[in-house]
Symmetry: C2
Subunit: 349 residues, 2 copies
């Protein structure tokens, strides 16, 4: 049944994706290893999956791609540690004339904040190359013309969302200011919420507390038409390189759990950010864009559902065993140990 589902899902994806599957098969023998044959369950027909193979000749990938979109956590860095070989790869790609974007579901920093992080790690990037989910949340508010409503946003999250809202002139409350806020439970005690809140944006918040949850609940349940926007739904994230940390899936899950409402998702795997990039930079063929990430259920799904080539890097949360397991139904076109493996190709480019 796992295979049936996997094949059924392939039939539903875009033509670009289907072309991608063919590229990974026997038609491009110099490009990838032989198609990966996996043992079927008893009684099931034998199926050879050609949709996922270790990248062996990076030069061929580079020749066929004009735009690389990199996830950050687990691809460029882990926590505050740069992944080995990354600066050389980025230099090589720029020299070869490739356009580079960094797309991250982390909402704790704004674009400007991310430039600071890249710089502190010795990498030089432009703010316009960075698409954080904090930026995506603001881009969504612009798209729906939220400012014209005259309402404000309640933020569960960190400074990144606030900085991006400031740049588009949308007023906001909450965020870090409510980090120490407490509730009072004497008779008649209540949290007084602002009836002019027209949207709650929920991003990763290491200072999540009951006051913020209650404030968000009141806005969503009691303010007519109040929106519920999630920057991302990642279960785990990289705060340090020592372990996995509970991600924004926790904060969004808390608000879902007390409102029974589903949020509008703006980060990966929602198409919002890729549509924005393709539109703004007039990228003609999605087939020449490669999404590079470390997560199957956000990065690779995000690329696949948007008709991009996809490359999984094992430098983050996904192991090779998990990628190749029968349970996994999300196959990238290629995978690498880390993006440092792109570097060899640079010499030939």
């Amino acid at each position: 049944m796992v295979w049936a589902l996997a094949l059924a899902s392939l039939a539903l994806v875009s033509p670009a994706r289907q072309a991608g599957v063919m590229r990974g098969g026997a038609a491009a023998p110099s490009f990838v290893n032989a198609a990966v044959a996996r043992a079927p369950r008893d009684g099931a027909p034998r199926v050879h999956m050609a949709s996922c193979a270790k990248l062996t000749e990076a030069a061929a990938l580079l020749d066929s791609v004009d735009v690389f979109i990199f996830d950050c956590d687990g691809v460029i860095w882990k926590g505050d540690s740069l992944i080995e070989g990354v600066p050389a790869v980025l230099d090589m790609l720029r020299k070869a004339g490739k356009r580079i974007f960094f797309v991250t579901n982390n909402s704790t920093k704004s674009r400007k904040g991310y430039v600071g992080k890249f710089t502190s790690l010795g990498l030089s990037v432009e703010p316009e190359e960075i698409f954080s989910s904090s930026f995506a949340a603001a881009a969504y508010m612009e798209q729906i013309k939220f400012k014209a409503s005259g309402k404000k946003v309640y933020v569960v999250g960190e400074v990144g969302i606030q900085e991006e809202l400031d740049l588009i002139g949308v007023p906001h409350i909450g965020g870090p200011a409510d980090a120490g806020a407490q509730i009072e439970l004497k008779n008649g005690g209540m949290v007084h919420h602002d009836p002019d809140v027209g949207a709650v944006i929920v991003g990763f918040d290491r200072y999540i507390n009951y006051y913020k949850i209650q404030y968000a609940q009141l806005c969503i349940n009691e303010n007519p038409g109040c929106l519920f926007v999630a920057t991302n739904l990642d279960a785990v994230t990289h705060l340090t390189d020592a372990q996995e940390w509970a991600g924004n899936g926790a904060m969004v899950g808390a608000i879902k759990g007390c409102t029974k409402r589903e949020p509008v998702l703006v980060g990966k795997p929602s198409p919002l950010m890729i549509d924005y990039i393709v539109d703004k930079y007039k990228i003609a063929s999605r087939n020449r864009i490669c999404m590079v990430g470390d997560r199957l259920d956000t990065d690779i799904l995000f690329g696949r559902d948007n008709g991009l080539r996809t490359c999984l890097t094992l430098s983050g949360v996904t192991t090779e065993a998990k990628l190749l397991s029968q349970e996994n139904q999300i196959a990238p076109d290629y995978y690498v140990g880390s993006i440092a493996e792109f570097a060899g190709a640079g010499v030939k480019a």
Copy 2:
């Protein structure tokens, strides 16, 4: 389609429930108002729903019921305020020889803690009459013989769960002790979790914080076989009578969102507590038990799915408009403004 779904769901419930539907119809004219006729959508056949009617003659209900199971928040009290007329009703039921239980999804107190709350409100109850979801969590741990594993429990929640675990001799960590716990995000920073945690129990926790979420995430994701138990999933709860407050749905949602695991539910509408009561007190006929509560999606569903009679009280979170709306697919057998309406019947009993 709403009606089709409602009728389809009726066909799936127990014989006791189907008898209940018939009781509410023309066969028992002295018992309830006439069947409620609601306007169908355009083009849909006219359907007369007989499954929900305002209680008009309480004496008949009392004659046919031996056991009353009362929810607490919104039925007996709201926050710290007793609902008017409740003491007289409970006295009357006891004098009429009825068995009374109090079943609450609130996990913040143990049975012993609840006796204190009842006493402070001037009500006299025995600990054995109280079934809180904190007790249910401990009863579940006993049922699965968790103690024999030699493992401990990590508690997201308040003192009620801890007190109930103490009574069955199951070691636990977390809970109120982690209220002020913080994380350190220096390089290599991590939360050290105990590999001997074999279950995470999540109950309502007004001191929820990121440390607790991360600790629970690590136990569930990294300790092999670690259980995830939720006392309840209520979206909102009554902390004070001034407003609705985010409930344990928020805490459980947070842990679901960072683990992608579904919990074992022990509170309403899970059958665990009603099975325990029926078994322990050798109650022969579920048809002579009436579940009285203020929530459609926990109390009434809980009663209905377990073959009990059901009575909704409007003294809590559910309005008459919501109950009778076409969107509502959960119909109690009867409903009252508050359980004070039972009292008139006592004179006749």
